[in-house]
């Protein structure tokens, strides 16, 4: 079998099996749902990892595959390069880990949200996993649009899962805001087609610079909506209504990562990029970063704190991507690695928050003290996640953040405005570090508080997921930076 067909076969499996799995879940009785979901998630994980291995074995040469074309227009296609083969396994595998974590979480034992696990949870989840794989591998703007919209629907269903009035509102908010973002992709796709007669993203480089600016800005607009960047961030803090495993997946490895992924892919395919695109991206990134940090200060609910932290972390990614427009390949690689590293970190952190709701029945940080003594695994996980979010070495995010910043200084050497903006980012990361250190100091050491002392034991499945993620948080940095070269 040629390398193209074996890679596409893996990709097809990673995309289609979870989607077919969701059909199966609808048709079979409820008790089977979670097993099917975990099973198809497992197959997709194996397929995406297998794809990455095949790709590496082939010398890491980028491969383009046509999947569906109409006449001579490429409508759907796959691209296998360092970026897609790095990100897809992360998106899919984290999906699987979250599904495993959901087994105990979505049950009547949960202290905060006792619940009978409904099939729709697993239906949406499994579709989500497939769509994320599809998005990472898509080489056309139509393909991205299709999977972009599918993830929108899945998040809508998952955010409103508890069906309380606020949850429904939050779900609708996420759907509408990200759909408004998707209009950018619709119209960007139309412009791309009008200019080049194809939907292939690689055709962006053939556009003249005016059209290229328009298309890239439209894609950036879509990316902002999905990645919750200022001014389209509103849906993300409301989305905290979702069950926590869902929040973990939305923040860690799916919904918000869709945006940066789409934008990174567009930049990578665009050839020479007009600087204006870079300016728009980095200025909005710095605004979002500062906004995100200011919003940390009043938060007491751990999930809301993490929501704003996601917004700020994604702003780093946009910052890195924006810097790449000015010619810094290092910043681009750093940004892509940051997508990967942040995925594990943020998933871990959210799942920790979820385990607190599960065992203690609250996520309010001031009520939680002495976590280390009663729940050592959760405590260590908390410490690892918090230091990783702050970017402390040897955690993975240190490596990627370092690359973004040093890329920034390389560009800033000749451009004062960028130099100042990079300095702002550095200050922001230091402040973030201080803030997370403060919460660590309050939550982890000391005697267990009343709430913590009354908690129920941590289920094994959750502990297992924490351990895997902790290992990944440490390993991801060197792994991703060597993968990206």
């Amino acid at each position: 079998m040629s390398i193209e067909s074996s890679l596409s076969l893996f990709a097809m499996v990673a995309i289609a099996v979870p989607m077919l799995g969701s059909l199966l879940i609808v048709m079979l009785p409820r008790p089977y749902a979670k097993w099917i979901c975990a099973f198809v998630g497992g197959i997709a994980t194996v397929a995406s990892v297998g794809l990455a291995a095949t790709f590496a074995g082939n010398g890491m040469n980028a491969v383009d595959v046509t999947w569906a074309s109409m006449g001579q227009t490429l409508v759907m296609g796959f691209i296998f390069d360092r970026m897609s083969t790095l990100l897809a396994p992360a998106f899919v595998a984290i999906g699987l880990l979250v599904v495993i974590y959901s087994f105990p979480y979505m049950s009547d034992k949960n202290k905060e949200h006792p619940d009978a696990p409904r099939r729709r949870f697993y239906v949406y989840f499994s579709t989500f996993i497939g769509a994320m794989a599809g998005l990472a591998y898509s080489s056309t703007i139509v393909g991205q649009l299709v999977f972009f919209e599918i993830t929108g629907v899945c998040s809508w269903g998952l955010i409103s899962y508890y069906m309380t009035p606020t949850a429904k509102k939050a779900g609708m908010k996420a759907l509408i805001i990200t759909h408004i973002g998707a209009l950018g992709l619709y119209i960007g796709a139309a412009f791309l087609f009008a200019g080049t007669g194809t939907f292939a993203l690689s055709a962006i480089s053939q556009l003249d610079s005016g059209m290229k600016t328009v298309v890239l800005l439209l894609i950036l607009f879509a990316a902002w909506a999905k990645s919750a960047q200022f001014p389209l961030y509103m849906w993300l803090p409301s989305a905290m209504e979702a069950p926590t495993p869902v929040s973990a997946y939305l923040h860690g490895a799916s919904m918000v990562k869709v945006g940066v992924c789409v934008f990174a892919r567009a930049l990578a395919s665009a050839g020479d990029i007009p600087e204006i695109v870079g300016w728009v991206a980095i200025i909005d990134a710095v605004v979002t970063m500062l906004f995100g940090f200011l919003m940390y200060l009043p938060q007491k609910d751990m999930k809301r704190l993490l929501a704003f932290s996601t917004i700020a972390q994604l702003a780093y990614v946009f910052f890195g991507l924006g810097l790449s427009v000015f010619g810094s390949q290092m910043a681009f690689n750093g940004a892509v690695e940051h997508i990967f590293n942040h995925a594990f970190t943020k998933t871990l952190f959210f799942l920790i928050a979820g385990s607190l709701s599960f065992t203690l029945g609250t996520r309010m940080l001031p009520k939680i003290q002495g976590l280390m003594k009663k729940y050592p695994v959760t405590g260590v996980g908390f410490a690892v996640a918090a230091t990783a979010i702050a970017g402390v070495p040897p955690m993975s995010t240190f490596f990627s953040k370092f690359q973004i910043i040093s890329g920034g200084f390389a560009v800033g050497a000749t451009n004062t405005v960028i130099f100042v903006l990079v300095c702002v980012m550095v200050v922001e990361t230091v402040a973030t570090f201080a803030w997370f250190l403060r919460w660590m100091g309050k939550v982890l050491p000391g005697e267990p508080s009343e709430t913590v002392a009354a908690g129920q034991p941590l289920p094994r499945a959750m502990a297992f997921v924490f351990v895997v993620l902790m290992i990944m948080v440490v390993v991801a940095g060197p792994l991703s930076s060597s993968w990206m070269g």
């Binding site: 609808v26 074309s69 109409m70 006449g71 001579q72 227009t73 729709r120 139509v142 649009l145 299709v146 919209e149 599918i150 929108g152 629907v153 809508w156 409103s160 069906m163 429904k168 779900g171 609708m172 759907l175 509408i176 759909h179 408004i180 209009l183 619709y186 119209i187 796709a189 139309a190 412009f191 087609f193 009008a194 007669g197 194809t198």
Partner: protein, 521 residues
Amino acid sequence: MDVSMLTVALLACPLVFSLIMAALPKTTSYNVFAGLNTISVAATLVLSVVTAGTMLSSGQNIDALGLWLHLDSLSSIFVLLVGIIGFITGVYSISYIKIDIEEKTMPAERTKQYYALFSLFVFTMLLVCLSNNIILTWAAVEATTLSTVFLVGIYKNKQALEASWKYAMVCTAGVAFGLFGTLLIYANAADIMPNAHEAAFLTSIMPYADQFDPMLVRLAFAFIVIGFGTKAGLFPMHTWLPDAHSQAPSPVSALLSGVLLKCAMLVIIRFYSLSIITVGDTYPRTLLLILGTLSILVAALCIFKQDDIKRRFAYSSVDNVGVVALCLGIGGPLGIAACLLHCIFHGFTKALAFCMAGNIQHIYHTRDLNKIKGVVEIAPVTAALTIIALLALAAFPPFALFISEFLTFVAGVQSGPIWVVVLVAIGLTGVYFALTGIALKSIFGKAPEGMKRHEVPALMIIPEIALAIVVMWFGIATPVAITSGVEDATSVVLNQSVEELHEAPLYRMVFSSQTKTSEVN
């Protein structure tokens, strides 16, 4: 048998069955009527597939009864739509109406009225599609109104009677404008053509289209758009539509919304095709662009206020007919292709949506979205299918409408004014919001106290599953038969030969037929 004879048979079949049912006494058992109607729609389905299939595969237009009937690739698409959706809703009716009778929402004596009119309705729609005589086309459109007025009002409660009265009044008044426009064309044609006897036949008129008086054609086209636009539900002539479509029995709503609106659009498309030869494409395009955009925006504003699930769907029909008009307004091969695809895809999707509304109405005995809660607990299959219907109607991928709406955007950016595209995108987002809102508001949530699990009969579910599969299938892999049929039909609308279109680089890229794909591979 000769194909042209088959075409006549296609037309005759539902009419004959309708007359047979009309001749039977009212007291005949329900099963006889239901059976006869099912045979009628099934035979219509087979005949429509055979005739339209023969036409599309051979590329030979079919004429029958002299010049009176004409089947080309454009009408074939609509004939197939009538045939397939007519059959599916016909089958859906069997259990639906039976439940109505068992629950006494409709007295058993009206069975005859329902089924005789149902077949008659199918006949009149086929006549609209097949008629080559422009005056007969007008009469056929009027006949669709007459045959459905008593279907809309069949429950004979206050709202139903009011809705059917409004429907009859607004549509006959509106379509009278259509007659006026038609007569202007006829009179002008009779002046120009050497053989004035043929001045009413569209195929005979078309070769002389460039000799028409441009002023008269402009006037006539405006009248035709207002007239048949009323029947199609374009703003500001749409006022009857939400009432009629919500009060009719659900299978009839499905046919009204899914197919009848498209038949009225077909008449407009025919005259559009004539006017672009006579007066160039700027005038007809501008007119339809404005009406289409307004319909979409007004529907987007009105749809939120609706608490009746079927009224929401009805406004979504106004919105979608607006998209069809908009595509005609955008014009060009891509615009026309998007328009025809949207007609097909919306037909199936809306039929599914109204059938689902029918299920819910039978389960909850209300259409009020504030009272319908927790369908997912009461009737899981209905709930799952309704969610598919809602997402498909909101044009999410991978459902069919996504493709046509995406093509609309592409065509719009390519040739239409950009601001219209942006405006329409915002309008469509509004509709999208209102439709997905139904799912959260009513499909999920807590079921009313004391309500037991209760699913509708399998005979209602099966046609719906068929529709859902079609909607998904067309969205994931639109069959080549459809794309090539649409391609041929587009060339009919634009009066260009298919070969010529294949030369146009753009056209060739968007659509493929088997030969072209094999070239690429």
